[in-house]
């Protein structure tokens, strides 16, 4: 019974973690793309500070995205 519960919980962990990872990474990346496009539009409109803010937000989103991927790979590589 304990074994069944442990197996079920392991599978449930796979389900929610993969859905969460896919959605979060995709949203962050989409946010970064939008941020960079907005930044280039703002630069063309000579709105430097706003463009810089958008670039910074996009960079942060990309870095979080990258960190999530690296963290996921570390988790997969762990022995237990």
């Amino acid at each position: 019974m304990i074994l069944v519960a442990s197996t079920a919980s392991a599978l449930i962990r796979v389900v929610w973690s993969s859905i969460l990872a896919s959605v979060v990474v995709s949203i962050l990346f989409a946010g970064a793309v939008v941020g960079l496009i907005r930044a280039s539009e703002l630069r063309r409109a000579s709105r430097g500070p706003a463009a810089a803010a958008c670039t910074a937000a996009a960079t942060v989103a990309l870095l979080i995205c990258l960190a999530a991927v690296v963290y996921g790979l570390i988790l997969v590589g762990q022995k237990s």
Partner: protein
């Protein structure tokens, strides 16, 4: 001495199986990136090949499951592993020839279970292991990939709808270089380990490794990684020709999401030690990304094919492996049986290849049918 000959045959056959796995799955791994023109075919295949190799080193949990999760280790001999492997290859060959869908991963495990049962009876198979680690994940994983991709695509489209499409497309094409790489890495992580598990099981069965101190030797990891990587590289050059015409109508955002969802599911499953059909997972991701844009875009016939593969592959591969074991056993416990069956297999392979070459054209990849968004 006779055990060593069988062991060598098992290792060579397992690595050949691994090579064909990479060869066959190249299309699944790189098709999305190539079809959206995120990356050129040659570069995509080279990157996928390298990352398949790297991925094989990340985790060994799937190998452990394959070696110890489905059959009782004490019931396994080198001949059992050999018959299981040959059963899986024969089943794949038959299904390929008659055009039935199949899963190499399920065939491999079905073959192992079938030959173990033929050798030692029903007690040799671990029913709970098969159900918990193979059957349920096989059903759940493609559905999870579908759901994840569908949810993610809906969110992504909402986020990017207010900006110009050209910029979005360029951004996601760049993202696909990374997501495609991640998918190749995850493929190597899950698929190469199945072969590692099987070879390790054969080493334990032949007494080369202690069952109490179970571990996957480094040479097994390196050789399995090399075989799947070379298979990916070789298979890629063949599909370049067909990809140009049988391309998937996906935009880069869908491609990115499908690859990310596929990679996430395969990596999470690898962490849990679940050997999945990576083809089914990737197809689920593609279909989900298509459904997120337009539900009618999904070719539901592909889902039917996957269900057919779920139902047929495991018992049929087990049955074929049991027959192979019975035939090998007729020759006694020496090398004669495996050598005879290997010769028969090679002849069958050549015959099928020659016949198929003249009569059949290669069909579209599962990707190509999964979505026409």
């Amino acid at each position: 001495m006779s055990v060593d000959v069988i062991l060598v045959i098992v290792v060579v056959t397992a690595l050949a199986f691994d090579f064909t796995n990479g060869f066959h799955d190249t299309a699944n791994v790189v098709a999305t990136s190539i079809s959206t023109r995120a990356i050129g075919p040659r570069r995509a295949i080279a990157i996928a090949s390298a990352l398949n190799f790297v991925g094989a080193f990340i985790s060994l949990k799937v190998a452990d499951t394959v070696a110890r999760g489905f059959v009782e280790t004490h019931a396994v001999t080198s001949t059992v592993v050999y018959a299981g492997l040959l059963g899986a290859i024969s089943w794949n060959l038959m299904t390929w020839y008659v055009g039935l869908p199949s899963s190499s991963s399920h065939a491999l495990i079905g073959g192992l279970v079938g030959s173990a049962i033929a050798a030692k009876g029903w007690s040799a198979a671990s029913g709970s292991g098969i159900l918990d680690k193979l059957v349920i994940p096989a059903v759940v994983a493609p559905l999870v990939a579908f759901t994840a991709a569908w949810l993610a695509v809906v969110c992504v489209y909402r986020i990017v709808r207010s900006v110009r499409p050209g910029g979005v497309s360029r951004g996601f094409k760049l993202g696909q270089v990374v997501s495609g790489g991640l998918l190749a890495l995850s493929h190597g992580t899950n698929d190469a380990q199945k072969t590692m598990g099987l070879i390790t099981l054969a080493l334990v069965a032949s007494g080369k490794l202690s069952a109490s101190n179970f571990h996957v030797p480094l040479w097994v990891v390196i050789s399995a990684a090399t075989a799947i990587s070379l298979g990916t590289f070789t298979g890629g050059w063949r599909i370049i020709k067909t990809l140009g015409t049988k391309i998937i109508s996906m935009d880069p955002a869908q491609g990115f999401v499908a690859q990310t969802a596929g990679a996430a599911v395969i990596l999470a499953a690898s962490r849990g030690g679940y050997p999945l059909s990576t083809t089914h997972v990737i197809t689920g991701g593609i279909a989900g990304a298509g459904a997120g844009k337009r539900l009618s875009a999904v070719r539901w016939g592909v889902a039917g094919e996957i269900v057919t593969a779920w139902v047929l592959t495991l018992p049929c591969a087990a049955g074929v492996a049991a027959v192979v074991y019975a035939v090998v056993h007729l020759f006694g416990n020496g090398d004669a049986g495996p050598i005879f069956m290997s010769v028969v297999l090679v002849i069958a392979l050549i015959a099928v290849y020659v016949k198929a070459r003249g009569t059949r054209a290669h069909g579209p990849t599962p990707h190509a049918e999964a979505s026409q968004a």
